[in-house]
């Protein structure tokens, strides 16, 4: 006959402090697991979504950041004539000349001015960057002092909420919309009208920083690059958007991957030790009680069953608690420095249902296996012997 399940439940209730510690401890393990994974997921999502492979960025040779690059209007026109560029329904090539500058904005969490990247584009830029979606408000109107602010930039800096006005280079810009682009680097940027940005920064109107080009197919990239390299008028580097942004974030990626992994690995080991320790200790000190169960006639299997059931309940509640604690951190935005352009980039923690379930599974594996050792040990002892133990 199995031990009634109420026995396990009552036992958890009876040992309030040690049950609470076990649950808290497992909740901590799960919470750390989820947060670390959510950070890694969010960061990877930003990297993955930033670059599409059929988009090509063109920079002056040797520019390690967009704002260092210079492209003249004649060169821009020459690029537009190259084959392999996708055309819209009216036959215009899908190229987007862009001006990139950095400007100080007040960073909410570090409470200092941090450099944010401001990108001046033509309204038609959305055709080249189709992943950019307006989630609130609207895109800027041509010729208006308006900002479209990336979702992360809006969270990161003060005064970039929809409808607010903010000063840039002596001009007041009004936030007309908030944009999203699947977690990409653009979400850390602020976009506005190309000409107005050139004027505000007293730049000549026939000079851009970089240009983006949409190709017919990503297979055309090498051929397109060859055309650029061969043209004597163009001292340009062409890179796919994807590889460019990967280069841009190489330092940050390495820092986060290596340090995050290192710390997470040690933490996971520590957390497993802690969870094991609590569950194991709580059962190991109950040898007598378990022997009593055997003495009054319950079978070996049902005693093992009750131990495992109890650790299952403990780890399940710990797992759920851990998920609940970590949930508010969903979409929490972490920001750091882009070491190539020295401007801020941000990404959001991404907690998915799958991750939560994995967290609970992780808790159950640790909890139940920690209950296993005392369960097996309890079977090795004869009831009479165990009852005599001090």
């Amino acid at each position: 006959m199995p031990v009634p399940y109420t026995y396990s439940l009552n036992s958890i209730k009876a040992r309030k402090s040690s049950s609470a510690i076990a649950i808290l401890c497992i909740a901590g393990v799960v919470c750390v697991f989820i947060v670390v994974m959510a950070m890694a997921n969010g960061f990877n999502k930003m990297l993955k979504s930033t670059g599409s492979e059929d988009n090509v960025i063109i920079l002056r040779k040797g520019s390690s950041a967009e704002m260092m690059s210079i492209i003249s209007k004649e060169q821009y026109k020459a690029v537009g004539d190259i084959m392999f560029i996708k055309r819209d329904s009216e036959g215009n090539p899908l190229v987007s000349p862009e001006v990139v500058v950095v400007a100080p904005f007040f960073h909410k969490s570090t409470k200092t001015n941090a450099l944010g990247q401001v990108r001046g584009v033509l309204p038609s830029a959305l055709k080249v960057h189709p992943q950019v979606k307006i989630i609130k408000g609207r895109f800027f109107n041509e010729g208006m002092y308006e900002f479209v602010v990336g979702k992360n930039a809006a969270n990161m800096y003060e005064g970039l909420e929809l409808g607010k006005e903010i000063n840039l280079g002596g001009r007041k810009f009004k936030v007309s919309g908030i944009m999203e682009s699947g977690g990409s680097l653009y979400e850390s940027e602020i976009w506005c009208d190309l000409k107005l940005l050139q004027e505000t920064y007293k730049r000549p109107l026939n000079v851009f920083s970089t240009m983006f080009v949409k190709l017919n197919s990503k297979n055309d990239f090498l051929k397109f690059k060859e055309m650029i390299d061969k043209d004597p008028r163009l001292n340009f580097d062409a890179k796919t958007e994807k590889s460019f942004f990967e280069e841009q974030s190489r330092v940050v990626t390495t820092l986060i991957r290596v340090l995050g992994f290192l710390v997470a690995a040690v933490m996971a080991v520590g957390a497993v030790f802690a969870a094991f320790n609590t569950i194991y200790t709580s059962f190991a000190s109950r040898v007598k009680e378990l022997a009593t169960l055997r003495a009054i006639g319950f079978s070996q299997e049902s005693v093992i069953g009750t131990i495992l059931f109890e650790s299952f309940i403990l780890s399940l509640s710990g797992g759920i608690l851990g998920c609940l604690i970590s949930l508010p951190l969903d979409n929490f935005s972490a920001s750091t420095l882009n070491f190539q352009s020295f401007s801020q980039v941000a990404f959001s923690f991404d907690i998915s249902l799958k991750l939560l379930l994995e967290g609970i599974l992780f808790a159950l594996v640790i909890g139940v296996s920690a209950g296993f050792i005392p369960a097996i040990r309890s079977t090795k002892l004869k009831p009479a012997q165990a009852l005599r133990e001090t």
Partner: protein, 379 residues
């Protein structure tokens, strides 16, 4: 000491539990050591900042250049002692993964400003004589096995092509946090070979006559170049580095705070284990008291046991962390200083002893107060 066998018997009583407790302490302090190293890595620039050094950068952004002609103008400002400059070269050796900072510097003056870098006099003269000469920090030289006289090809990702340098000197530091990973060469060589950007440098470093003058000199420099097409932003080296740390953002804070939570949880668990293990042997303790062991002695023994766990597990953890950091920077070059400082090590030791006491204190107090009749009467 004659009670050592008692201590030993208690420790060996439940081997798995002892193992788990030691393991928890080990993991906690390994984590502590690593977090300490990460913290020093992020703050390296702040720790080495010279009190009387100023960094003059382009007002728009550090990555924008300044004209070479500013050197003379800055040198005229009273209160300044030495002026030097550097430009980021941004290349790599063999593979982009082999990262170390390469800078084209004003070779005559650079080491006058960075006095903490020590170079052998003869080696330095050889460097000055060789147009393609370079000076490398000890750490980078050791990592890649570079020897004096070696020809080192650097692939220039910004300027294009392969640039070859002759290793003429190796510099060492004076403090453990000094950045010994830099690769320095003549700015004149960069100027001669690059196709564009001529006449520009990355940033200037100014040494003032005394730390009191930094404020006035920095204001004077920025005033001098205001309303020019290359405006400057001058900061003390410390403020510059701190600004940098702030820009790196809350990543450091996130790592450190998660680590701290785990650290505290682990210690909570070990003290709980100690508590349970003492409760379990209350009968035995009562017997010891009956045969004449004093309350104080038993109190002392319990604390010692707890200290044993924390010291052996914790020390092992700290030492493992230390060993790990001796292997150098795990990111392959992005963190020039990755080390556990002696202050941090001392703090770790203090925490080990403190938590050893703390987790033993409550159970020990229980042992101290234990009444023989109660304990023996309990089933």
């Amino acid at each position: 000491m004659k009670y050592l066998f008692l201590l030993k018997a208690n420790i060996k009583r439940k081997k798995i539990r002892t193992f788990l407790t030691l393991g928890s302490y080990f993991a906690a302090f390994l984590l502590f050591g690593l977090l300490a190293a990460i913290q020093s890595a992020f703050h390296q620039g702040v720790d080495v900042a010279g009190a009387n050094r100023l960094v003059v950068a382009n007002k728009t952004s550090l990555i924008m250049p300044l004209p070479l002609s500013y050197k003379e103008k800055i040198a005229q400002i009273s209160g300044g002692k030495n002026v030097t400059f550097a430009s980021w070269f941004g290349g790599y050796y063999q593979d982009p993964k082999n990262f170390f900072a390469q800078m084209a510097v004003d070779s005559e003056t650079y080491f006058d400003v960075y006095k903490e870098f020590k170079v052998d006099k003869n080696q330095f003269l050889n460097f000055l004589k060789d147009r393609q000469g370079c000076v490398i920090g000890k750490k980078t030289a050791e990592k890649y096995g570079f020897k004096i006289g070696d020809r080192i090809p650097i692939i220039a990702s910004i300027w294009g092509g392969v640039w070859e340098f002759n290793l003429r000197a190796i510099y060492t530091g004076t403090k453990p946090e000094d950045d010994l990973t830099q690769f320095l060469f003549h700015a004149s060589y960069l100027e001669e070979r690059r196709a564009w950007g001529k006449g520009m440098v990355g940033w200037y470093i100014v040494e003032t006559k005394s730390p009191d003058l930094t404020y006035s000199v920095s204001k004077e420099i920025d005033r001098k170049f205001s309303n020019s097409s290359y405006e400057t932003k001058t900061d003390t080296e410390k403020a510059f580095a701190l600004g940098f740390v702030k820009q790196i953002g809350n990543i450091e804070l996130i790592i450190l705070s998660i680590g701290a939570i785990v650290f505290v949880t682990l210690l909570l668990v070990t003290s709980n284990t100690m508590e349970i293990s003492v409760r379990e042997r209350s009968g035995e303790i009562a017997v010891l008291k009956t045969i004449g062991f004093s309350d104080k002695l038993l109190y002392f023994l319990t604390i010692s046991e707890s200290l044993f766990y924390s010291l052996s597990g914790g020390l092992l953890g700290m030492l493992t962390a230390k060993l790990f950091t001796l292997k150098g920077d795990p990111t392959g070059g992005f963190l020039p200083a990755f080390y556990v400082s002696s202050n941090q090590f001392a703090l770790g030791m203090f925490l080990i002893i403190f938590f050893g006491f703390l987790s033993g204190a409550l159970p020990a107090y229980r042992v101290y107060k234990l009444k023989i009749v109660d304990a023996l009467g309990r089933i």
